[in-house]
Symmetry: C2
Subunit: 471 residues, 2 copies
Amino acid sequence: MPYFDAASAAPLHPVGRQALLAALDEGWADPARLYREGRRARLLLDAAREAAAEAVECRPDELVFTPSGTRAVHAGIEGALAGRRRVGRHLIVSAVEHSSVLHAAEAHEALGGSVTEVGVDRTGAVAPDAFAGSLRPDTALACLQSANHEVGTVQPVAEVAEACRAAGVPLLVDAAQSLGWGPVAGDWSLLTASAHKWGGPSGVGLLVVRKGVRFAPSGPRDERESGRAAGFENIPAVLAAAASLRAVRAEAAGEAARLRELTERIRTRVPALVPDVEVTGDPERRLPGIVTFSCLYVDGETVLHELDGAGFSVSSGSSCTSSTLTPSHVLRAMGVLSEGNVRVSLPPGTPAEDVERFLAVLPGVVAGVREKLGAPVTAGGVRGTERGAGGSGAPAGDVLVVDALGRRCPVPVIELSRVIGDVPVGGTVRVLADDEAARLDIPAWCEMRGQEYVGEESADRGSAYVVRRTS
Amino acid sequence: MPYFDAASAAPLHPVGRQALLAALDEGWADPARLYREGRRARLLLDAAREAAAEAVECRPDELVFTPSGTRAVHAGIEGALAGRRRVGRHLIVSAVEHSSVLHAAEAHEALGGSVTEVGVDRTGAVAPDAFAGSLRPDTALACLQSANHEVGTVQPVAEVAEACRAAGVPLLVDAAQSLGWGPVAGDWSLLTASAHKWGGPSGVGLLVVRKGVRFAPSGPRDERESGRAAGFENIPAVLAAAASLRAVRAEAAGEAARLRELTERIRTRVPALVPDVEVTGDPERRLPGIVTFSCLYVDGETVLHELDGAGFSVSSGSSCTSSTLTPSHVLRAMGVLSEGNVRVSLPPGTPAEDVERFLAVLPGVVAGVREKLGAPVTAGGVRGTERGAGGSGAPAGDVLVVDALGRRCPVPVIELSRVIGDVPVGGTVRVLADDEAARLDIPAWCEMRGQEYVGEESADRGSAYVVRRTS
């Protein structure tokens, strides 16, 4: 049963498991105590810190263990902002950061700080110039992920770090997705990561603060972990995390090449096997194991459910699979299709046969869902004849109005695709919809179909999305 | 090698270990995901929550797992204060709470809130009337531990909870030391605990917020654990925590009776075996496994070191064993001796022979340290003859001045005990000292020795402690 969601969490690496078991016996005591069980725990904690620091390429006293990657991000951002409060309260983040970064930014804004979100191109990457252009005299901190968690695009961290350094602004790098593959290059100031992404156990994050970076820990004081991560140290888990990191790093170069070839198969063959698919993310500057694509005219939840039934565990940034009912902020920032979104993230060791079997199963799954939803079956072009003027109640100038109010993704896009052939070239269709995903998916559909997206207008209920048939 | 510091951390219970191992294989995935690994993780998380809630005697949806007891306390206090901000910003804590509670109170004060610390008697217990008397119309929250972590005294939680309920103020109970022994009685509103205190793994705390209690989580929002504990769930650990709790509870009644008898042996026999010892804490209303005593004329660090060499791991609230160089705030609040402080906390399963061996070893250890420090060797009374007037430079009225400036605990008290026999009954000794512990230990010595503590006066350097010989 292939598990293809390593970007969410990876099972514990056998080496990490072994370290965990040993440390359950040796590392349960309080490392602040002076008796032998405490001294033993302290030795293990120091060893874990040294191993992790070596993998990050920092000094051991720059690195603390936190209870999760999310806590590392929250503590890192809050601490760096507080440390530079005198400089100002401006925070820069990319629009495609992990939600933990964006939520910390939100919290900063709620407390009166200001936030600039730097946009990305269609591949999901920030432009170093644009990032540098958002630096201000009152910028206290900038945040950029090493690589994106949803589409795998690698960010230009070294260039951005250089710009930040020149401006005297610390850069925090969320390295959650990449640290298992290698250290983060460039002159960054803070770094965060999460062990269960690289095959470490749950319950361990890393927060690195370079010497010389002003940092004021937030929250009630606590003597553990240099005052940067409150609470009793979880030594068995941090030891397992460090051991796993060392183990995956030893295999990283070979495994990266192998997974890169496997994800390349998906990148190139899915569009050939499944009509109306958009593969997202940068084709070159990307993580080895992640590939993401979106399929028109299907809903992500049903695709995930069908793939699960066929034995494949994947995730999706479609709105129907999230509790908030809004499409992934990453796909939105990229301006790409969100419906029928599938993220495949291969864990190290994935056999090629599993990927081949996935490629064999996927076309039938998508076709089945499309059939159930009554979606168009052919790829490309515009189906149907050039019929005359459209339905009743159409405002002057519109040839057709599609009322998809109250209908959820992907129905508005399916309805649009059904009628586009019925309007003359040059004519417009007005789609009324109140599902959030439509705002992203109708323009994306136009882009994929070569039709013109005229724009969005507010309506009594929901919005009206206007599309002009151009071919 | 007997480990007698269960109040700091207990090794993982075998049942917890088994649960942890099973959950490493079954519970590593993201419980928010819909595929089978995610559903499996969700089932385990739900099962752990139900088991823990049963042990706490609350509803499962009132309980979240946090990364540590400290995090549970910080999040609980911050959330409850924020939830009742409109009522006011007054917080009540007992003076003997765990440092995580006191540090959260400090942080609240730093942000402009007000804090009342309710004192304790010489046994370490709060008086329900005094606690109730500190409730004000603007009190947002009150905090009282279920039992003290340093001396084992059980607090009158049910009575205090009733008073809080009558005043409409929520009571947060830090149950870290007692939850393994049983649920907390009384009508409390919030409860916190820490798994590694009851033989669960590191990395798990509990935060319970009763339905109807106003609560506004602090920090950046996060969808995990009802928004009350940010970060990826550590399912193997929470499962192990819940399984351990159930296991220790099954053995709790029998084990409590057995440990209570063993700690009673220490309570009664140490004062007989070792001269000049004060046993602290309530003799009746106390936890089964904790007993604490302080030995005049020795320093805690050396005693701990010698006991460690003899194979016993214990802890101490003496100033010389803490990084802050101040005596334990608990001993200070109780007004008892802090020097030569030893806390014995027996893990379940401690054999009687280990305790007997401890009782056999302790007198020699203390005598050895005293000898090295040149401390008085006899117990009770006042040694020496009734000599005439004292040393040069004594201010008018003082018979003797002891200059212990720059000398650390227990030297000022040793010096005092050396000269007290040299002043006439009714005469005074003035001890000059700048070690923080003297402020606590000189009055405590007077209490133990039946001499009169006249008071403290400020001096050019440190303080002057005035003692009158009364017998």
